[in-house]
């Protein structure tokens, strides 16, 4: 896509976050959508493009009273919203629509109006993975990690440190679900979920949602908020079954999506001021840092251990690459498809209004995963026109 041709002009999360038993999935989509529309001073009738995952864009359009000329129901898991941003930018540039609303809502904890997880017994997953007992992401997404730890040389303490440092970021965010500091010992003594994964290495399960409004860079100047421009985007998919990923120590979808986004943006890694890597589990930032090219193979765990991604905290210095500054899926919130919250934090950082604001940040990378290393989407933002 053409750099900076499209911008985010509206962005918001649901009014409440965490446990929201009085709202259905569709209600969470609508709450986030109305907040994002208010953020940019628009009404539903001003929207002519819709994109969402989990729910159908048809549900969204009818429920909100939108008559779109463009709709995208790409649903490839938690990074779907990164793909929506990419597709929306292309659609706006092509003139298919002018103003796009992207929504997410999920009743991950309360399960109000929520669907079931998993495929049919005749699907590939149903035949070649489900019979062996996986119970959703905690016992599936985690399967590659012992191979990763052995081949690239990562200790269990280093894996635990990912959660410790993200909790430091969460402590700076009033909306974070968990804010109390934790130690490596706390992580390694928490309940065993699926060896080697303990509870504090796994994401939260909450209710919530978020929405974005995008339009052309030309029109973006007329909106009340500081525009956040899209500099580069990438996407890819690899496999519906974690057992069939090409290499358990590296995600092909991450590599392809990341490279595409960096190439489009025309930037180097040193240009990045702020980074979000979808952290459903503690190993994902390690894969992300290496597969996006911020660290060499086997270097990510040490990079985090040495506080390169940490905030200034308790007299300790902050790092050069602030990562998951909202606290991440491990400590901020995780409704099921977390990608939307990574995008929201990138937008806040680019607007200069994040609770843990990175001073002077100009470029933010938001990288998402879908399924169990099944899909990936990357969006690079800038606040410079």
């Amino acid at each position: 896509m053409k750099q900076k041709s499209v911008a985010v002009v509206g962005a918001a999360e649901t009014t409440k976050m965490g446990r929201i038993p009085d709202m259905s999935v569709l209600g969470l989509h609508a709450d986030a959508a109305l907040n994002a529309l208010a953020d940019c001073g628009l009404k539903p009738s001003d929207i002519d493009g819709v994109a969402t995952a989990g729910e159908s864009p048809v549900q969204l359009a009818q429920y909100l009273g939108i008559t779109p000329t463009w709709a995208d129901g790409t649903s490839v898991g938690g990074c779907s919203f990164m793909l929506h941003v990419r597709h929306a930018a292309a659609a706006i540039n092509e003139g298919l629509c002018k103003t796009v609303l992207i929504t997410h809502g999920e009743s991950g904890r309360s399960r109000i109006g929520a669907g079931r997880f998993g495929g049919a017994p005749s699907s590939q997953n149903g035949q070649f993975e489900a019979p062996y007992g996986p119970v959703g992401p905690p016992s599936m997404f985690t399967i590659p990690v012992l191979r990763f730890m052995k081949d690239v040389g990562v200790s269990i303490e280093e894996l635990a440190m990912v959660a410790v440092i993200q909790r430091e970021w969460a402590a700076l965010n009033p909306r974070a679900t968990f804010k109390d500091p934790i130690t490596i010992d706390d992580v390694l003594n928490s309940t065993m979920i699926a060896y080697p994964f303990r509870l504090l290495m796994c994401c939260l399960v909450t209710d919530g949602g978020g929405a974005l409004v995008l339009t052309s860079a030309e029109r973006a100047k007329d909106f009340p908020q500081k525009p956040v421009y899209i500099l580069g985007t990438g996407e890819s998919v690899e496999t519906p079954m974690v057992s069939q990923m090409e290499d358990f120590t590296s995600s092909k979808a991450f590599r392809v999506s990341g490279k595409k986004a960096f190439d489009e943006a025309g930037i180097s890694h040193a240009d990045v001021d702020h980074l979000m890597i979808y952290d459903a589990f503690a190993h994902l930032p390690l894969y992300g840092l290496e597969d996006l090219g911020f660290c060499g193979r086997g270097e990510a765990a040490k990079f985090i251990w040495e506080r390169n991604t940490a905030p200034p905290s308790a007299g300790k210095k902050g790092g050069k690459l602030p990562l998951n500054t909202n606290g991440g899926g491990l400590s901020y919130m995780h409704s099921g498809m977390y990608g939307m919250y990574a995008l929201q934090e990138s937008v806040r950082q680019m607007r200069g209004i994040a609770p843990a604001q990175v001073p002077g940040a100009k470029i933010s990378v938001s990288h998402g995963v879908g399924g169990m290393f099944g899909a990936s989407g990357t969006v690079i933002f800038t606040n410079e026109a």
Binding site: F128, P131, I143, R147, A194, F197, S243, Q244
Partner: protein, 134 residues
């Protein structure tokens, strides 16, 4: 509770019939000789539709795993492995490692394992793996 079982499709029936007969059946491309899994009626490496079914050796190594401490109701109440093995022929598949303690000490990456079939219904036997006999 009954075990969650696969529902074969026309493209995968030979695999599940093989398991029932005590044979681990893989496929390979007649043109490029690529061996692959899961089953499909064409080669995922080159797209050729001419493929053949052949019996695998049943030998593999333990590639990666977790020990699930929150078993699904049909999996019993004790922690159990959910593993991926690398077959001697190349492809990897998900399975359970059985016939040994479900502990990190007993489940060592790269250890040799071999297939064993366990019957769960008239139609379905699952290919499970057990530590290879020395």
């Amino acid at each position: 509770m009954d075990r969650v079982l696969p529902q074969p499709t026309p493209e995968t029936r030979h695999f599940w019939e093989g398991c029932k007969a005590g044979e681990l059946r893989l496929q390979r491309c007649v043109a490029c000789r690529h061996s692959y899994f899961p089953p499909r009626p064409f080669c995922p490496a080159c797209g050729n539709r001419e493929v053949e079914v052949y019996p695998a050796s049943g030998r593999a190594t333990l590639y990666s795993y977790v020990i699930n401490h929150r078993p699904r109701p049909d999996m019993g109440t004790e922690p159990h492995s959910i593993a991926v093995v690398a077959l001697a022929e190349g492809p990897r598949m998900m399975t359970n490692i059985v016939g040994c303690p479900q502990t990190p000490e007993a489940l060592v990456l790269d250890m040799p394992v071999e297939v064993t079939f366990q019957s769960f219904s008239d139609e379905i036997s699952l290919p499970l793996f057990t530590p290879a006999k020395a």
